[in-house]
Amino acid sequence: MMKGLRRLTAMMSLLAMTILMTGCGDKLIVLNPKGEIGKHQLDLIIISTVLCLVVIVPVLILTFYIVWKYRKEKKAKYDPNWEHSTKLETIWWSIPIVIIAILAVITVQYSYKLEPSKPLEHEAEPIVIQVTSLDWKWLFQYPDQGIATVNYIQFPDNVPIQFELTSDAPMNSFWIPQLGGQIYTMSGMAMKLHLIANEPGSYLGMGANFSGREFGKMQFTAKATSQEEFDTWVQSVKDSSPALTKEGYEQLAIPGVSEVETFSSIPTGLFQEIVTKYGGHNHPSSEGGSNNNEHGSHSNSDKAADSDKAPVIEKEDHSSTNHEGHTK
């Protein structure tokens, strides 16, 4: 069958072209990780691809062979009533079962190993960065250093980073492909993500989950440097940048895009305030079951414990909405 062959060549040349165009795979940043987590994830990608190819390649070859061999013109063996073979069917039920079983075991192992909320084993103390996704910008707070940045992070290499993530806008997803996979940022939640950069460099970071009009502009640079360079940078931010105040944060939270900004100080407890604003709690760790229930049962008590003011305000809100509800 000429046409099948023609398409095969078309596909092959297309693939070759694609690989050529990408220029040695430098741009394929997911396949070019610079951090431990990303490297493990790459291992997993390679293992699973190879396992799948073990089945896929023979199937594709078999397809072309059968289409070629049994086309009408060739008058190959014709057996119109052959419709069942226990032996054959057992074989092709078992092949995928075996492959999937192997893959499942590996996946489960890695799920625990790479659970994002699990701290990395490393001799250095982790650096904490608190991430807030806003309408269409990223706010990063360094609670230990007492500084904050917008759309830019810098951190020392070979030091684990503990990201604590929340959102003061529709959910987004925090992703630095070369360091490792992403995690959602959600209002009322403080998620955790542990990453590490094994070598210095500037890495692309992005908001991966659609969150409204300018979501495409939510990209940032994640820069890994030596510890000294990092310390110098922190000092320069402290020396030369304005302070972030509560009012400043309110301004920042107004929907809109933003350039890179740095702040020499942060209001105390701002991150926690953003989380609890939506009745939140720290997200259940790897052993957590259904997060819905957790959210439901915790939020009430958290809120009551948090401040006496909030419920009063809410009560007033209710009466007005009630009223509206009626007139509607």
Binding site: T22, V30, Y70, P96, I100, P177, S286
Partner: protein, 656 residues
């Protein structure tokens, strides 16, 4: 006063975009042209009597197919607009707002208003004929389902020119889709458009389950039923279990928006994550709902054009049923990155992988149906052959995505986009195209031109790979879905341009198909045999197009592929099966109620969208009155006399 009207009009109509003004003008002109043509050719009564009020499954099927092809056009234009925008970096062809609207409507239309109705169209055109039945179990309900879909789709599409389109993505996660972040009416159009057509889908599910379980021809045991009907059964079972969840989810979202409730809001104790769970509990089964019938179509086509029995019938049935069951236990794989913990992720990763097993078995069975066959390659078979590599590769990337810890790197990227387009186009679209080509002669009584069909197939197929293969690599380069533009510095330019070229190739493929249909109508190659492909199942025993009552006498089934076996017997010199005597046939009368009732749903939905209770309440009352009127109708049937059956059969050159 005039200012007030002006203010209202500028809110009510979508303004400020030349593309939309162009659309306004063309929509207006089309409506005028249609009304004029109907009046000039005095076709209003014909339209009402023969189409709008029909309860005949074949005509309803045709209307589904026409509507879904129109929606394919609209969804395709959306796709090409997006690809044009992304072809070069920093493009200003579309604003971010406009781009967000377009990817939202593209997704909704392609899944809910293109794939679903095309699927229902094929159900209607084929299932009763394959079962040897004279209609579906509930013809009235069937018509209602269609009109609910139609008016739901229209309501959704109206948002293009009135009020503004939804722009929160095809599944509209709150709080983005809530009143706090989407105060416009677009989101309400989304809710009501889908809700109204969703009720129709649910009823179709019920209808076909009863049809398949209760209306098979005498002797057709379940395990002798054609594979397409099996796939329809599995798809419908999935529909009735999944669609009520969608109904509730959309209703809750609407109540949040309309009455200020707190199901999915950030304040007041609402839980947006619950929406994400609920919508995927429907959304994941939904993709299997649309793909299972495609599997059935491929089974029919493989057997027919290999001139060989379907290999592993029992395995195929078992695989279909297990896929539809398993599809309910995988929904959380759409948000592995939501931090549910390793236990949850591991569980859903494994359940997702398990689905690959029955799916893989089906591929082997198709291959071995062709093995030792006599393969010929008319257009339906081409799509079948094109499907296998495409679906196998798409399935493989699906397995890669299901590996939860690795998904952290794929999620929300173009890798995912490439994957689901590969299974949805390679599986669903190719499958339904194959089905349309295959059953076209049965439905319309003439074959489609093979030569243009081959052109269409090759442009579609090559276009597909050119469009979507680069997107896997774009995903690995860190390009995330739904970005409306990107900078030159990213290095995504070449692959995006390639992808756009592929997209336009598929567009050309669609044009070939349109040309193919028009050309075939003009130079009609009539099918006088009723069995143009040397088919195997009951639908090929009757004339093309099928008469109103389908079967003059009900077939007596003794075997799987009964018609094929009968032809073999006759070829060996045996006498054909004796036919029972002709008897008058009991038929349902046409009814205008489904059309009117669905129009009232449209009115009610439109009223709720704009918060106009003066419009919404009469709409709902209209719906209730229609139901009552139907309940009080008792004379809903009539008989076709033996003489008339004889005349009809004679006109189709059949001896009875």
């Amino acid at each position: 006063m005039l200012d007030k009207i002006k203010d209202f009009a500028s809110d009510f109509f979508v303004t400020g975009d030349p593309l939309i003004y162009g659309a306004d003008v063309s929509i207006g002109l089309t409506i005028i042209a249609v009304v004029f043509a109907l009046t000039y050719f005095k076709k209003w009564t014909w339209l009402w009597r023969d189409w709008l009020t029909t309860v005949d499954h074949k005509k309803i099927g045709i209307m589904y197919v026409i509507a879904s092809l129109l929606m394919l056009f609209r969804g395709g234009v959306d796709a090409l607009l997006m690809r044009t925008q992304l072809a070069i970096p920093d493009s200003e062809f579309l604003s971010p707002e406009h781009y967000n609207q377009i990817f939202t409507t593209h997704g909704v239309i392609m899944i809910l208003f293109m794939a679903m109705p095309l699927m229902f169209g094929l159900f209607n055109l084929v299932v009763p004929l394959q079962l040897g039945a004279r209609d579906v179990a509930f013809p009235f309900l069937n018509s209602l389902s269609f009109w609910l879909f139609f008016f739901g789709a229209m309501l959704f599409n109206v948002s293009f020119v009135i009020g503004g389109s939804p722009d929160a993505g095809w599944l509209s996660y709150p709080p983005l889709s809530g009143i706090s972040h989407s105060p416009g009416v677009g989101q309400d159009f989304y809710i009501w458009g889908i809700q109204i057509s969703g009720i129709g889908s649910l009823m179709t599910g019920i209808n076909f389950i009863v049809t398949i379980l209760k209306m098979r021809a005498p002797g057709m045991k379940l395990m002798k039923m054609p594979m397409f009907s099996w796939s329809v059964l599995s798809s419908c079972l999935t529909i009735i279990l999944a669609f009520p969840i969608l109904t509730v989810t959309l209703a809750l979202l609407f109540i949040d928006r309309y009455l200020g409730a707190h199901f999915f809001t950030l304040d007041g104790g609402g839980n947006p994550m619950m929406y994400i769970n609920l919508i995927w509990m429907w959304g994941h089964p939904e993709v299997y709902i649309v793909v299972l019938p495609a599997f059935g179509i491929f089974s029919e086509i493989a057997a027919t054009f290999a001139k060989k029995k379907l290999f592993g019938y029992k395995s195929m049935v078992f695989a279909l049923m297990s896929i539809s069951l398993l599809s309910f236990f995988t929904w959380a794989h759409h948000f592995f990155t939501m931090g549910s913990g390793a236990n949850v992720n591991a569980f859903f990763a494994v359940t997702t992988m398990i689905i690959a097993i029955p799916t893989g078995v089906k591929v082997f069975n198709w291959l071995f149906t062709m093995y030792r066959g006599r393969l010929s390659f008319p257009t339906p078979m081409l799509w079948m052959i094109g499907f296998i590599p495409c679906f196998v590769v798409g399935g493989m990337t699906g397995v890669l995505l299901s590996v939860a810890p690795a998904d952290f790197q794929f999620h929300n990227s173009y890798f995912l986009i490439a994957h689901f387009h590969q299974v949805l186009i390679g599986g669903v679209a190719f499958g339904y195209f194959a089905g349309l080509y295959y059953w076209w002669p049965k439905v319309f009584g003439f074959k489609l031109n093979e030569k243009i069909g081959k052109w269409a197939f090759w442009t579609w197929n090559i276009g597909f790979y050119v469009c979507f293969m680069p997107q896997y690599f774009l995903g690995l380069m860190g390009m995330t879905r739904r970005v409306s533009s990107y900078g030159w510095d990213k290095g995504w330019y070449e692959l995006n341009l390639t992808s756009t070229i592929g997209g336009f190739l598929m567009g050309i493929g669609f044009l070939f198909q349109v040309w193919q249909i028009l050309h075939s109508i003009k130079f009609m190659e009539k099918d006088t045999t009723g069995d143009p492909w040397d088919g195997r199942t009951l639908e090929w025993t009757i004339p093309s197009p099928a008469p109103l009552y389908n079967f003059a006498t009900l077939p007596q089934v003794t075997e799987k592929d009964d018609f094929w076996e009968e032809k073999q017997r006759i070829a060996q010199g045996h006498a054909p099966k004796p036919r029972p005597q002709l008897e008058p046939i009991h038929m349902p009368k046409n009814s205008g109620i489904p059309f009117v009732m669905s129009a009232f749903w449209f009115v009610a939905g439109f009223g709720f969208v704009f918060d106009w209770l003066w419009m919404a309440i009469p709409g709902l009352i209209g719906v209730a009155v229609c139901m009552l009127v139907h309940s009080f109708r008792y004379k809903t049937d009539y008989y076709i006399s033996v003489d008339e059956i004889k005349r009809t059969e004679a006109a189709a050159r059949r001896v009875v």
